[in-house]
């Protein structure tokens, strides 16, 4: 069967006429041009961050900076704003969100995938249904809660609504469902407790899903803006996205500094993203194909 498919594929490829080859090149060209356009803003941001204020106001516009190693804007960013502190705040918040998400989601995923308690299917549906509730619809009561609990302007306050996401529960359930029941039963026969099974059987078998969730949750939390704007008021508690806003106002923006700050805010996440892209794509596809 397989060889038949392959041979027909081969004959099809061999049968490509000149016109088809041209079409293929054209498609590649269009796709590549689009990719370059999409990538351009990153390039432009990086280039602008290396220019001086007079340079970016040159007419006609000049693409390359005079000095490719001009890092004065970056130094200035750290001088003007406690940007290190912002980076630290974002790192703390995103790490807590990612780790707590993995812990709670994998526990819940295990419960939903491998146990038959009454009301399980209803509860799972209810959890999925929560995806329909926009965060903006619950933000006012959450703010009141944070105020009552004294969590305004604290790390706990920023991270609180981010500790678990429906997506995480969904992802972990999906992954844990794939583990054969025999493994779990074998552990039970050996006398392992349910919690021990979770740590020694379940978690090691779903490492890819854990990696995926860690990355995507870190990314989402790092890029969060709306909720931090609501809970944070003091400068030293700001996260990176809010810190970026310090370089912009309605009347006059120093774009050379702003782009330097933007590079600083994007770079860590972009590096993580590029090196671990495989996992992120997996998460996106997961959320897409099962929707």
């Amino acid at each position: 069967m397989n060889s038949i498919v392959r041979s027909s594929e081969l004959s099809r490829r061999a049968g490509l006429n000149l016109k088809q080859v041209h079409v293929r090149w054209l498609i590649t060209l269009v796709v590549a041009c689009g990719a370059i356009i999409v990538f351009f803003p990153f390039f432009w941001m990086a280039v602008t961050s290396l220019k001086t204020a007079p340079e970016i106001q040159r007419v006609p516009l000049q693409i390359a900076p005079d000095n490719w190693l001009n890092l004065t804007n970056y130094i200035e960013v750290f001088k003007r704003e406690p940007f290190m502190r912002y980076l630290l705040n974002s790192t703390i918040v995103a790490s807590i969100a990612a780790v707590s998400s993995v812990v709670v989601s994998s526990l819940a995923g295990f419960g939903f995938a491998k146990y038959h308690f009454p009301g399980r299917d209803f509860l799972f549906l209810a959890v999925v249904g929560i995806m329909m509730v926009p965060f903006q619809s619950v933000v006012v009561p959450l703010y009141v809660w944070m105020n009552d609990l004294g969590l305004l302007d604290t790390y706990m306050g920023i991270v609180a609504p981010d500790l678990v996401s429906v997506f995480g529960v969904f992802l972990m359930r999906q992954a844990i469902e794939m583990i054969p029941n025999d493994y779990i039963d074998a552990a039970r026969i050996d006398g392992a407790s349910e919690l021990r099974i979770f740590f020694l059987v379940i978690l090691p078998s779903v490492k890819p899903a854990i990696a995926t969730l860690l990355i995507i949750k870190f990314l989402w939390s790092w890029n969060e803006f709306f909720w931090p704007m609501v809970v944070i008021s003091s400068p030293q508690m700001k996260v990176v996205t809010m810190g970026l806003m310090s370089f912009t106002n309605m009347y006059f923006i120093e774009y050379n500094l702003l782009t330097a700050a933007a590079v600083i805010s994007i770079l860590p996440i972009l590096l993580i993203f590029i090196t671990l892209q495989r996992w992120v794509v997996q998460a996106v596809v997961m959320s897409g194909l099962k929707g």
Partner: protein, 302 residues
Amino acid sequence: MRQWFRIAFPKNYLDRRKRAGFLFVLPALLFFGSVFVLPLAQSIMYSFYKIAPGGAKEFVGLRLYEKVLTDPTFWTAVGNTVQLLLFSVPTTVVLALAVALGLNRITNLRWRNVWASMYFLPFATSLVAAALIWQWIFDPVYGFLNYALSFVGIPPQKWLQSLVEVRPAIAAVSVWVRIGFDTMIFLAALQSIPEEYYEAADMDGASAVQRLRYITLPLLNPQIIMVCILELIFNFKIFDQVYATTQGGPAGESQTVIMLLYDTAFKYFRFGDASVMAVFVFVTLMLVTLLQWRLFRKPVEY
């Protein structure tokens, strides 16, 4: 009830196991209950009360709904949001579909990955950073876009500062951020379509357009609907991009629903009014999602 009692106080092994399962999901349930379900109920409740700054509540029935829903500012914001949506959602979905179809035809895997990653990169950036970079590109005097357009003879435009162009310009930022995400979903779906279908179509002498029309698009239907719904929800909740750049201006032309909600709640501290908007957003998105689901979802068999 008895069943639950038995599981809460298990006497045998199987019940104990069921209790363990329930305990595993309990933290997540408590979290979602306290962060989404309860606050949603509170939002609905707040929308019927007038709340004084001290915290004193007074039941006012539908008065706040009447007030907000007859306020022209609110409907302008809704109108702006819908216009933004109409620019960005179809553009994103169509472009993403086109890119995915193109990527799928590239046979060199290494290059395909390179191009795909480039489309996917904006997904990693924060909306704030994305919007600010674009604001610089859109700059009327020193911006790159006007510079590039000058080569094809288009005079400088004001983009984000123009009453007419501000919404398409903001929509472009949303398209840029989201295109990679949608492309990835489409690409994965395209790759799961069995090759045999196309071979059969080839034997029947189907043209490329026919193959797209009668095989690819019908099989992609679930993903297209889902992506449309996701984009609709994402774009209806637009906030970061607007807040970071125009703050709703010029002259309120880019004021959106969530911007208004944010200002009402956290600038003017009118929680009641904001809650009416919160309920409005929830109900609208719910209805739109359910409607799209009902109208367009067809069962697909591979």
